[in-house]
Each structure stands twice: as C-alpha cells, then as structure tokens.
Symmetry: D2
Subunit: 378 residues, 4 copies
C-alpha cells in the first residue's frame, strides 16, 4: 500500500484499485487495518446530520447547533472553552499553531510528530514558514530533559534561531503510546516557565482517555494544555475535528481573530450546521470515548495474538489503538497477498523483518481481528 496517489492525476480516467477493500457494500470480513480512517462514519453521526438537514438557518456558524458548541464542550471539559470546528486534523493542528506562532518563530515537537512527518508541510504553510524544531524520544513521548535542552539551545542561538513560540505534543502519540497526565503536566510546566503555550494534537485523544480512564479535563487543561486539536473523524465522525481553546491568559489574545484564520484558509463552512452536528453527536453519551474504548480493545486483542507468535516483535507498548509489530518479511507479504490492508513503516536499521502498523477502529469486530490473527498463525 502506498499513501494517496489517487488524486495525483496520472493521465487517464480510470484508476485501478490498489488491492484494498472497497466495500460500499458491507464486507464479510473487514480486512483493512490501514488506518482508523478507512472506516465509515458512526450511524449516530449520520443520523445527527440528517436531523440537521431541515429548514433555512444562518450560515457560517450562525445556527443553533453551532452556537451550542462552546457550552457543550465546556460541559464535557468542565471549563470555559472556545470551539472552532474544522474538517481535518491537519487543518486543526495547523490553524491552532498558526494562532500561537509568529511567522519568524518556531514550534518544538517530537521527531515522530504527525505535524512534522505526515501533513505535507501544512503547519509550515499555515504558519507562513515558521519552523518545526524536533526533539528525539524513545517511543514518541517527549522527555522533560530533552525539552529543557531544546529550549536552552534555541535561546542560545539568539537572532540566528527562530524563537520557540509553542510546544506541540501528541496524545496518544504516533507510536501508540500514551502520556500519563503527570508526565504531560511536567512538560507543560517547563513550557509555561518559558512563556511557551502548549498545543496538544488530539487526533486520537479519545483513545488516550479511554486508556487512562481519566476525565477529558484531566487529560488536557488540568495538565496544562492550552489548545487542543480535538479528533472526531478517527473515532466515528464523517469528517469533523475541532480546535478547542481552553480560555486562559495565554489563549485569550488569539480567540478574537481565530475565525479569520479559518475563513482565510477556506475552512469556514457556509452550511456549518453539518460540521457541528457531527461533533455534538460524538459527545452525546460519551460516544467518542466508547468508540475508542472498543478500538483500543481490538488493538489489545491483536497484541495478545501477536505475543503468541514467536516471529513477532512489538517495539512499543500498545496503549491506544495503534499496533506496531515487526514480522518476518515473508509473513508480511503473505498478509498482503491475503488481502489484509496495513502500512509498512520504515524498519529500524539492524532489525530483521518488516515493521508494519495495524489500526483497528470502532468499526472493527472481534471476528475481523481473529481472521487477521488466524492468517498470521497459519
């Protein structure tokens, strides 16, 4: 499997499928573990959109659903928030950072960060060329000592180095690990000591909260997070994320004009009710957390199965819904031949085998996991 390419116009009209499922009819066994975004939307989300599809309402967010977002998220996060819905995680991350970072500034992040590796340069676009400065880590979780060093080296560079204007952390991390709230709090404290606000890429925040068993507040602003990219698409929305500012002295100055940044990047929906409806549906009865708890459980089932396989090495602890595993090259090829979908990852040097990633979602069933494990065991 390669990423994208469909829209990379190749000179012909018909593009052949790449071997992944293409089930606009429900598949018997769901073999696509490439990402949680290969799944459809959750029925409750679609229902909410259908209900929203009635009558004329004000556009650009001047509708009852959109007007209720601040209050509803405020209840869930137990504090005053300013919520701005957008359609992709890339937009949420990039917009959030652009409001904190001057074009001549920089963001500190882990070297594994999605903003650094997987967003096609979007953060740099939205921040008008501000720089991402990366720090190494063992498993995607930044360490306090690395953060201190990064801040110090940058400061010593004087005018030759763009000043650090934001710290961006990821929860759950890109390697499927989860920060303990106290570790998150330690990082935020260091950042705040340097007058640096903290952004959290919460594309899979729901998986982290489901793993930790804490409240959304404990996982975010109580640990020191200033602005959150709230992920909805991976846990069941059709396409809905949100930039959630926790209202404090660090965020208040940027709230007033934030909508302008959304408009200017083409992300302000005229029929905004349909974006808001999705987010509200996810919050209803903790649907976002329940969906993620299920995805996490499916990931654990995969891990348990892999542990029984002598040839499998698990380089990281699976705490959310992403499983990274090194399998013998031949087994990987056999899984692909059997129609299972997943991404190959760059395998660390000196390691024999191939590193792959398996990502179940709310839509993955026990029988789907067991079919995968049976293929691996065979």
């Amino acid at each position: 499997m390669t990423t994208g390419g469909r829209f990379s116009y190749a000179g012909e009209w018909a593009v052949t499928a790449t071997g992944t499922e293409d089930g606009l009819v429900t598949d018997e066994i769901r073999k696509n573990f490439a990402s949680d975004n290969v799944s459809p939307a959750c029925p409750a989300v679609m229902d909410a959109m259908m209900r929203a599809n009635a009558g004329n309402v004000g556009s650009y967010g001047d509708d009852a659903l959109s007007r209720s977002l601040n209050a509803r998220f405020g209840e869930v996060f137990e504090t005053e928030v300013a919520v701005f819905p957008v359609v992709t995680g890339t937009a949420a991350n990039s917009l959030a950072l652009s409001s904190l970072v001057a074009p001549y500034g920089a963001v500190l992040c882990d070297q594994s960060a999605h903003i650094n590796n997987d967003e096609g340069g979007a953060p740099e676009f939205f921040m008008h060329g501000a720089k991402l400065v990366t720090l190494p880590s063992a498993d995607g979780r930044m360490e306090a000592e690395a953060l201190r060093t990064g801040l110090r080296v940058n400061a010593e560079g004087g005018i030759l180095k763009p000043p650090i204007h934001a710290l961006s952390l990821t929860q759950a991390t890109e390697w499927g690990t989860v920060y303990a709230p106290k570790d998150l709090a330690a990082l935020c404290e260091i950042a705040h000591e340097h007058d640096v606000p903290v952004h959290l890429d919460g594309s899979r925040l729901s998986n982290a909260i489901a793993h930790l068993g804490c409240t959304p507040a404990e996982a975010t602003w109580k640990a020191g997070v200033d602005v959150l990219s709230f992920g909805g698409t991976k846990c069941g929305a059709m396409a809905a994320e949100a930039v959630v500012f926790f209202v404090n002295d660090r965020t208040r100055p940027v709230l007033k004009d934030f909508e302008r940044r959304i408009k200017r990047s083409g992300h302000l929906w005229s029929k905004a009710r349909f974006l808001s409806a999705q987010l509200l549906a996810l919050l209803e009865d903790d649907l976002w957390l329940k969906n993620s708890a299920h995805a996490n459980a499916m990931a654990q089932r995969i891990v348990e199965g892999l542990r029984r396989h002598a040839g499998a090495q698990l380089p990281f602890e699976t705490q959310g819904n992403e499983v990274f595993v090194i399998l013998p090259d031949r087994l990987v090829e056999e899984l692909e031949a059997a129609g299972f979908g997943f991404y190959r990852w760059p395998t660390p040097e000196g390691v024999s085998g191939t590193l792959i990633r398996l990502v179940p979602s709310f839509h993955t069933r026990i029988e789907d996991v067991d079919a995968l494990l049976a293929e691996i065991a065979a």
Copy 2:
C-alpha cells in the same frame, strides 16, 4: 444582518440569535433570502452520503466513488478533465489560482470578484502573497478593452509590477449577471494571446448554464476556460465543490502536484468518499442544473414583483438567482422587522434608498417569494 461573528469568540458561551430563521424544524414560510447557502442540502445528496456510509474503503480518495469522478465529470463536460473535490468555494478558487500563479505573480480579476472582496484574503494566502489586480466594470462583466489595458499597463511596469499569471472570471458574476459564451470566449482569447491561463469562479455556474441554456462544455472550456471552480454547495450539496482542470497544455504541468496543495492546506479528506458522493449526486439526472433553474425562476418571480413596485430600482439585470434592488430605507427596515433575511450592500453614492441582495435557492418555494412580495407591496 452582519456576516459571521458566531465563531468570533466573544467571551461567553451562549450567543443569542441574530433574528434570522433558525429552523431545524421546517419553517412555515421560509423568510431567509440572505444567501443560497442558508438552505439545507438536497435530499438526493443526503441519500447518496448515506449509501456511501458502508464498509471500509481506502482513504484520501482511494475509493470507488472518488476514482469515478474524472470519468463522470468528463462525461458531463464532454472532455478530459482532472477533478479535485474540496469543501468550500474559497478553497476551490484559492487552490486553483495557487497552481497557476507564482508567489511573485498576479491575477487579473474584476473589481467585484468574490476572490477580491469576500474571501478574507484566502487567495493571497494560498498564492503566498501574489497580488490581485482589479479592473473596473459596469455590472461585474469584464470588458475586453479593460482587459487589454490591464495587461498592457502591467507589462510596462517591468520588474516593479508582479507579472499577470492568471485571469480569473466569475460566472454568474457577483452582480447576478451572466457572460454570453462569445463574450467569455473573447476574454479568454486575449488572455491566451498573452500566455495567461483562465480560471472561472463557478460558484454559481449552474445558475449561469440554466440561464443560458447551453451545455456545460459551451459554458467553460469551449469558450477557453482552463480551470473551473465547480460550485456544488449553493445548488444543493451539503458542502462540496471541485476544482476541475480541463486537460490541455496550459493545465497539464500543474496536475501532478495539485493533490499536494490540497493536502498542505488541510483540505484532503481522509474519508473522501463522502465528498465525492455529494458531487456525483448533483450530476445525476442534471440535478445541479434543475435545482438552479428553480432558483433562477424564483429570482425572476421576485424581479417581476419588484417591477410592480414604484419605489424599487433594479440596478442590474437579474440573470441568475441573485436579485439586487434599491428600496426605500424605511421599507428595508420594515422587511427586517418582519423577519425577512437578506444582506444590505454598500449603496452607491448619490442614490437614495438602500441596496439589498435577495437570493432564492432550490429550497425556496413560490409561497415564500409571494410572502416576501406581499410584505413589500403592503
């Protein structure tokens, strides 16, 4: 009515309504003529999204619906096209222009153009600061002589002026007028003589085609258009537009990397099937054109009613679905008091009265128009 503001965080959670309809229940009489985007989505569009919501499929456009877009649009436009779905017209316009215009270049457009007046600076953002150079016109339709002058003055400026890299026209125009295909062709020919490609902002292209009674091909590439912002939202989609490149020597060089620009601006949907499904539903049985023909008819009904009113002045010929009318100040206030929704426009100097805009949509019914006219007559 003011534009936006909902998401301009104002320090409190609850924002009170601004007097417009807020009908998540169907309203008896639909009084909101502020824009065609206050309407809901067309039932056929919602149905198509529901049908798409089944099974796992490849993400980022690697699904059967998305893969069919080039062929389907190719049938409708009777030529080879490369289609890139995005979620707003602002994104479509800005992305299309950014692929044609170097950051040190410029775009020629009419002074009334949406890209110049109503997109919060989005084109300049996506084009990295390239300049919009505007030309005056009487009714939103650029004239050949003005275009020639604009190109000449720019060229004479040498390195002091950013070179013109694209011509952007709007069909139907911002004043509700429609270019005849031969006039469009004359402009495109001048542009091409100067090696300048032509972009068409087709946010309301369907209204123009419905008015002209021509084919989509005649309204676009046969007149010389190189790239089209295809409008879907205003004629019935939930949120779906498309950048449609007519494949020729001017557009071919930019197709390969266009998807990268989409990704980099956060506009690449992971669950892209839901965007593609909307567009395909609009093309089915000419739904986009039928919806627009209805909206145009409702606009004509408004115009006819206004003509019977002594105090109404119609500064432009209504050819699409936008009606501009100057009414006595007091009448405008009364309409607002009666709950009708519309925008006030800057009234030309020396004119007595207030210029307002009325925009019916596919969702507007005869009884809605008649209620408006009755209020005006009263």
Copy 3:
C-alpha cells in the same frame, strides 16, 4: 526607457546599453533625470564609509557606529526612537508594515502608493499575503473622508474582509505633492481612533521637510506617525534607509522582535558599520536636508522653465523634487533622441500628449537643468 531588465537573464553575456548615460567618468552635462537614484553617493557618505573601514568590530550591529544610531536619530527627531538600518526603501517599507499587520490583515493606502505599484509585490511577501486596500485621491494625498469610508466599508465586511491593521501614507507623495502637517495629523487621528497605527513611507521625506521648512519631529511623530521608512539613498547615501519606530504604546510591542524580521529576510548586514556610517553622515550638519533642498530647487527651476512652454501641462503642483509634465508626443521623442533620460508614465485617458517624470537630485546642477530646458525650448 524601461525599468530593470538588466538582471532578467536574456541568454547572452553582453547586454547593450539602453541609451542612458553610463558615466563612470563624470559626464559634461548630466542628462539623466530618470530618478534621483541614478546619481552617485554623496562624497561625505563615501568618506564616512572609508573611515569606518578600520579594525575588527562586532558584527550584526555590535559596533560603535550602529550602537549610536538610536541616540543620534533621537536627537534629530527629538524623541525616543528605535532605528533599524536596511539597504532599500522596499525593505524598509515591507519590514515596517510586516511588524504591524497580521498575515490575515490589511493595509490602507493611496492608490498611487509605491508599496502598491512599484515594489514587485514586496509588501505582500513580507506580510505573508496581507492585502493592500487602496483609496482614490486627486494628487496622491489621501483625504480624510476617503479614509473614513475605507475604514467603514472594511469593518462592515466582517470576516469576509481582512481587517485594517495599518495606514500607510507617503511623504512626499508619488505625485510630488506634500502633505501639510495638519492634514497628515488629521489622517493619523482618524486611524488612531480606529486603533490603526500609521506608517509613513519617507523615501523622500527629506524633500518634504525641505519644502515645508518644519522640523523632522513636526513632519512625523508630532503629526501622529508611528513608524517611518527613513529614506537615505535618494538624498545622497550609497544604499541606506532605516526603519524608525517612534517609541509609543502602538510600536513598543513590536520592537523586541523586529531584528528577527530583518535577519529572516536576509537584510541584517554582518558588517553593519558600513550601513550605519552612511546614515550618520547624512544626519551630520543636516546633509540630508541640504541635499534635498538643492534637488527641490532644481525641480522648481524645471517647473519654471516648463511654465514658459506653451505645450507643457503640469497636472500636479511640484512640491518636492519630482516634476510630472505632459508634453507633446513629438517633443518627448526628441528629448529621448537627444539623450535625456526620464520615464514615461501612463497618460490619463482623454489627454493629448505624453506624461513624463523628471527627477533632479543633489547631484543635478543648474547647467544640467538649463540644458534640458534649452532642448525643450528649441
């Protein structure tokens, strides 16, 4: 004469001269009136650079000359200032504006402004795509009513229009006229009422001051100017301008990081002493003002000569050192044939003849002007 083109690589090594003087030897009669920047540097400026060329000193401004700039300019302008030397007026204007205007914001300026017409899109580059919104005027001097209207229309646009973050005025204007301090003050007051700071493009500020006979303070901050592009090159420097912030509540927040913007645009000289030395030499004994008074006098001499010529029309009052005159087409061609250098300007519609610009400098002598006038009279 066309502008630039030399560095537009044309495929060959040797580029032939375009007919202008090329006097690396002193010419008998100086016929080039194209701009004040065709002149060499003033001897006093070159001497100061030679004196600065001794010993090792700290780089990037950490030298005695650079360290003295704030104090020296503070004396001249009779207030606290922060001075940042740069090498071109385009850089000074663009950097100054970029510190005041967010990328999603806008600048109000006169339609004739150099930043809008003659800087190749530099302001938009430095401001990351922020927009220049232009206002019409009769002679390059913005009128208070136009400014009020511009601010109001922009505000009414809500999120659809980039908010005005700066007003940029030009003194002397691009048409060679000069604002009276009270008129400048009226404009600044309106801007400040809207929380909009004021930038002054002072590329020819010295000509304006020489015309007005006021103090530098009266011409700038006492009228309400917040930040000044101080022009040095046109009044005698080799290549030296400065961004001069008048320290107040509107400018103080941007001072701290301004040097970062200079560095990031490649405008921070390592051997900064040579830039500072030029500026200090201009301020010594009012050299900048004396040079400009001479240039103004030469311009008046041209005007007086032209007034005696029946075929000459002077569309604007010449108050600085720029003379705009409409001459019969044939006379213009004859002047060119006789080796005189000047630019043709776009001639207003309906006017017979050709609009040209004549710009004497500190280096222009009475005999040079008289030779020009004699040619015109002949």
Copy 4:
C-alpha cells in the same frame, strides 16, 4: 559573546559594549576571532567603490559594471553563468533555493547546514514554508548513503511528505571541513538521478578552493553544482555576495524571473553599481582566493599551536579557516577575560571542556595568532 542583540531594542538609547574590540581605530593586536565578518573590507574593494562613485548611471543594474558581471564570472568559472548580486549570504542562499523549490516542496541538507541553523528561518520565509529535511553526518560532509536513504524515505511518504526539490550542500562546511571534488560529484550525481538540482552554499567557497588548489570550475559546476551562493563578504567585500547560476537545463527555466524574486524581497539595489564593483574587485587578480589562502594559513597556524597544547582537542580536521577546539573550561574563561573574541559552541555530551570556534580572516596577522597562542600556552 552572544549573537546579535544590538538591534533588539532594549528600551534605552545607549547600549554598552559587550567586551569585543571596537576598533574604528586600528588595534595593536587584533583579538577578535569571532568570525571572518568582524573584519573590515579589503582596501581594493573600497577603492573600487570609490571609483564607481562618479556620474549618473542607470539604476537597478543598468550600469556598465553590473552589465559586465556575467562575462567576468563566466571567465573565472569557465562557463556560461547568470550572476545576481545580493548583499548577504542569507539572501543569496534563500533566493537561490526559492527559485528551485515549490512552496509545497522540500530541501535536503546536512544537519549542520547554515540554512538550517543560523539564518533565523530565512530559507523557509523565501520558500514560503517549504521544508528543510536534514541528514546526519560526522563532520558536516554529507555521505552518499545518507543522501540515498533520505531521498528514498521521502519518496515513500507519498503525499504526506513534501517532495525533495533541491539538495543544498555547503563548501567549506560549517565544521571547517572541505569536500573533495569527487565526493561532491558523487552527491550531485545521486541528486541529478532523482531530478533534484544542487545548490552550493559557498559562503566560504574561496577557502575551500584555496585548500583544494583546484579551479573554481572544478569546485562547482564540473562536480555537478547547478547554482552557487558565491561568498564575497567573508573574503574581503564590504557586503557583497552573488547567486551564480550555471546555465543548464535545470537552471534555465528559473533565470527569467529570478530578478523579480530579488526585487520582491527588497534586495534589488537602485545604485547597483556599488554591489557589482565589490564583486569585480574580488575577482581581480584572484584577490578572493589570495585573501582566503591567507586566512587558511592563519587557521593552520592556530591548529599547529593548539596541537602543542595537552588540554586541547580538535574534533574536526581544519581545512578552511574555521578552527573548532575543545579547551578546558577555565582556559576558555581566561581567554575571554584577556579580551579575545570567539563563540562558544554547544559542547557534545560526555565531553569535558568547552567547544569554541576561532575564525581568522584576510585581516588576521601572524602576530595576532601568536598573541592568541601565547595566551593559551600561558
């Protein structure tokens, strides 16, 4: 010593010196080894500027000196070139890269590269947010295998990673080492196989050529370099660098508009003759190479002295004019106390002592080096 800070306005007019020499009078012993840019300009360069200061000439490069640049550099480099003078190395690097790299693209460079660490984010600004992707190396010289891996990993990322549009190498490197022409050629060949053009940051190219004893052609385009940042300031200019395109199929498309990028960034001098005069003076009689040979010899003298000191560790081979040495902390402090100027560098972990950098220039004399060595020996 810290970098910059002078122009970081600190609220007062008088800034106290930081302990470095400030010799606008010639110092007895030149103790400032902080950088080659603390030196003045070479007398021959100043003389050339004085000679250029006569008569009116065309501006923006339309003068005899500027018109001769292509031919003169063509002789020196023995091939067809297009030369664009600018005032800083940061501008040269950033402009050169911006002409090769789309805003959505990326540059591969060594992790030690000046463009990545020391230019305040300028490359990202000029490239509109394009990304610098860094590769590790032992001593600043990129290795072929690292380059191949970098290109492969990027390509596998598909649309999630900005495509590599340029390779940027540095000669001499930031660690004072010098690529052998055959090693440079191997890297260029790999890049060209991937259709990636090669930029060379030649801020100290003259030091590299002086070390290698090869021709300028062998050090650049014969090894595969496509565009060069030619360094003039460090080897004797007041402030003059140049972007030198070697005209070939990879560079030809970008030549036409390159001057526009210069104008748009405020780097086009109106009195361009003074920039061109400096560059021509450096090329006269190989002055640039002679000056650098002297600086290299002074660096070798320092190295020889340090080798006799038991406490000194030299982590890299000194091949140009930069000496990196780890000295006991106390000795470093004593050198500072004695008035010697140099930068402290981040010392590698686990190493005892302090890493410093010493950079002699054309202006450094044997007695200056010996005074430094005597202090160290004492």
